[in-house]
């Protein structure tokens, strides 16, 4: 009998990393990601199925265990889960909504350290001061020439989501920026 070939999924940034005093970059753990769109009327049913609240305020996120929901637009969320597939939970929901698996479309990069905000600000024009961008804040925005989703997970720690094919650019950009910021 013929042997079954198994394809192995590799991330685009497997061997990358950058560490400097004050600003370091690492690859975020592989995660399930769902692009969720839903009208107001469907939100409560989806919240119950997903087991976390969907934030209604601009630039806010919610977290429950390994799952997080990031507000991207008035009817749009990015749901990230490091352990279980959110689609399994939302599959049975009959209320009008759209949930698309984008787990492998995105790559996550974590920038952390005292100068993490400066490193991100090297290519992102948003105000990242603690007043304007507190812990838990998230936003779709730009980094240099690409679009990213920026999420402040903790004091001095930013999670950057970019499209997979843009990830070498994002990582190179952040490396250069982090090097400058930490210098």
């Amino acid at each position: 009998m013929a042997e079954t070939a198994t394809a192995q999924r590799r991330t685009s940034l497997e061997t990358r990393g950058f560490d400097a005093k004050g600003a370091s970059l690492t690859l975020a753990p592989s995660s399930f990601r769902v692009s969720l769109r839903a009208p107001e009327a469907s939100i409560s049913v989806l919240e119950e199925a997903l087991g976390l609240s969907l934030p209604r305020l601009p630039k806010t996120s919610s977290e429950e265990g390994t799952r997080a929901a990031l507000w991207l637009g008035p009817d749009e969320w990015l749901v990230i889960d490091t352990e279980t597939d959110p689609l399994t939970a939302s599959r049975g929901v009959e209320a009008l909504h759209s949930a698309v698996d984008i787990s492998h479309r995105n790559v996550g990069i974590v920038a952390s350290g005292a100068y993490a905000a400066e490193a991100v600000n090297g290519g992102c024009p948003q105000d990242l001061s603690p007043e304007a961008f507190p812990v838990g804040a998230c936003s779709r925005t730009v980094l240099g020439k690409i679009e990213i989703v920026l999420w402040k997970k903790a004091e001095n720690s930013f999670h950057i989501e970019c499209w997979r094919s843009f990830s070498p650019y994002a990582f190179a950009f952040l490396t250069a920026s982090a090097r400058d910021a930490a210098a």
């Binding site: 630039k59 991207l72 637009g73 008035p74 024009p125 948003q126 936003s139 779709r140 925005t141 730009v142």
Partner: protein
């Protein structure tokens, strides 16, 4: 960098996140088949190109993704007002009056009031719009 207030994100965001979407408040005919060629041309091709205040569509493409409307001055790039798509076109005079009230409320009553586009561009209003543009003497010389 220019800061533009997105009415959906409810805050000012850097201009790099936005894209211009052309003139606002152009309604498509509900009965386009019956429209004359001239009326369709006006709807499809003809746009204002004012030197001064213009109503425009903008899209927060690298943010919430929403289209919204803005009142912008084409001379100074100043955004006077932004509002959600579908909301009625604001009255320009009321907007100017509201801005004036805000200026007084902010205790800037002793500073000169905006005299319209002219003052923003540091050019007297009566010199901004000329009926007959001066002929360009150098044209065709090169």
């Amino acid at each position: 960098m220019l800061l533009i207030r997105c009415p959906y994100c409810e805050e000012e965001r850097p201009e790099l996140e936005f894209r211009n979407g052309g003139q606002a408040h152009i309604a498509r005919s509900t009965d386009i088949v019956q429209e004359s060629a001239e009326a369709f041309e006006r709807f499809f091709f003809i746009r204002d190109n004012p030197k001064g205040v213009i109503f425009e569509r903008w899209r927060h493409i690298h943010g919430c993704g929403r289209f919204f409307n803005a009142v912008r001055d084409t001379i100074t790039d100043k955004f006077h007002h932004t509002y959600k798509a579908g909301e009625p076109q604001p009255d320009l005079n009321e907007l100017i009056a509201a801005n004036e009230d805000r200026r007084m409320d902010e205790g800037r009553g002793d500073m000169p009031a905006d005299q319209g586009p002219g003052s923003w561009a540091n050019v007297p209003p009566d010199q901004i719009n000329v009926a007959e543009p001066a002929a360009d003497a150098s044209k065709g010389d090169a």
